[in-house]
Homo-oligomer: 308 residues x 2
């Protein structure tokens, strides 16, 4: 491939940023639909759920929507499912920040949920957001063009990718790996489960709802998984190289906690090289997608150069 | 109604106990299907999820199954959904027992999850079980006779009855009510949300999956809600009158924590009278159900006289 082709395939970072900003606006408008109104006695828990939502990049919902677009279903038609991914992701952030887990006082640029409220409220707000996530996934039924069978499949897969075999299992391994000898196999397990599986689920969900062929669901899922691994490596790097004001959460926590990370295992430069390898793999997968290739290529470039 | 009719309608407690024991066996055989196998790095979280399951009465899954039976669908055909209710219920027990919430060292006759493992594992095991619950609800699709649309409806309703407008909202109100002046309106809110809504959801789920008419779904839901209120009042009474060895969890915790309870508000006798009122309401609702009346009546009698 000559350098011109390579440049064309990389997608345009500013265009992807613009598209992400537009989908984030749509997602932010829709998210409150899946949060209950607070009543007299339930006001605080609902407030804590709302409190934790602002400030995210809405990357996972954008991926759901763009995956649907890739297979011919307008992104707006999968907004309920897209919101489900963001609600779940936010729930995991609240629980991760708890004193018993990562004990992080700052998230999305302001005090974390248990810091702003209290621990009990943060546990329950996280639970409420996991449930709200499924509520959003089930609300996908209101979109007439998506068959109920596809929705049930997405819900079932979401469980596999997020539960003890997915995100939650990754979190558990992440904690167990603290202050243990660095171990590449464990580190790969953590990154795959904690982060990449939700990206894989997001790409697959859009494709399933758009009734894409099975081999295309697998293909875009592989892209999502690889992008997720890339995202987590860059996250590890930012924890070493960024500052809290830019990132909206504390930096240096991984090192303090003795976490398994690529910078710890192979240094910041080595981690950067691994990121480049993942980006190459993801680019190759994106080339085989039937449409929307500019977006998927641009997303890789954006992730490689991300600062937040 | 003469006393003979009244006796006939009360159902037989030994028969209901026998039926509950039989369904509990079925449920216990099925539950592991919705828990992942532990792998090298995910073993502990899965172990903590398994650890928390034994010892329950499996009342909520039995209600799902008997509700389906009431409307002509064999209970065994809704086992996935029934298991979903038990998995969710177990998740709430784990999170309730956490130091930041009820700080309870004992559950189902042995150390609570965070006592046997640690707090981080208990938070994540609870999350894993909430997700496993939805996995079971979605697995209802494997039963050919239930349409996908009914499954999506059950999942959507489950969210409403369990999230911040349901069980989780009730938990939050329960904590907020601690050491506050006793308030009947708050107490009713707590009992309705924390306990009764999951019973209502369980009765409705069986009926929805069996494709019962809407007014029958409402009717059995009202029965379930009333039974749930009765169950929680008797729970409050047992916390005052029972002992830990019988109950499998500590007693007297409500009083220690300054919780809103009926014994605190109106005394043990007053709480008993309220239980009788609820039982009367539930009996009247059960009389209008089209079938399986012996079971529903017996369940009321069993709840009134329960010791665990």
């Amino acid at each position: 491939m000559d350098s011109d082709t390579s440049r064309r395939n990389e997608g345009s970072v500013p265009e992807v940023k613009e598209l992400l900003a537009a989908t984030a606006t749509q997602v932010d408008e829709h998210l409150p639909r899946y949060l209950p109104a607070g009543d007299r006695f339930g006001a605080q828990i609902v407030e804590a759920m709302h409190y934790s939502l602002p400030g995210g990049k809405r990357l996972r919902p954008a991926i759901v929507m763009e995956s649907a677009e890739t297979f011919g279903l307008p992104g707006a038609e999968v907004l309920p499912t897209a919101c489900g991914f963001e609600l779940f992701h936010t729930a995991t952030l609240i629980h991760d920040d708890l004193p018993a887990i990562d004990n992080s006082p700052l998230r999305r640029g302001r005090p974390s949920c248990h810091t702003a409220f209290d621990e009990a409220t943060a546990v329950l707000a996280g639970d409420g957001l996991i449930i709200a996530a499924y509520s959003a996934l089930a609300a996908q039924e209101e979109v007439a063009r998506v068959p109920a069978g596809a929705i049930v499949r997405v819900i079932g897969e979401f469980c596999t990718f997020t539960g003890a075999t997915g995100v939650i299992g990754g979190e558990a391994a992440d904690i167990r790996g603290e202050k243990q000898p660095l171990d590449r196999v464990l580190l790969e397990y953590i990154h795959l489960h904690k982060t990449a599986k939700l990206f894989e689920a997001a790409t697959r969900a859009g494709a399933i709802l758009a009734q894409a062929p099975e081999e295309q669901i697998e293909l875009i899922g592989s892209y999502g998984r690889t992008l997720g691994l890339l995202f987590q490596v860059t996250d590890d790097i930012l924890d070493v190289t960024s500052c809290a004001a830019t990132l909206g959460k504390p930096v240096g926590l991984d090192d303090q906690a003795g976490k398994q990370t690529y910078p710890a295992l192979v240094g910041v430069d080595g981690a950067g090289q691994y990121a480049e390898q993942l980006a190459t793999q993801a680019r190759e997968l994106a080339e085989d997608l039937p449409a929307n290739s500019e977006f998927w290529q641009g997303l890789i470039a954006l992730t490689l150069e991300r600062r937040t």
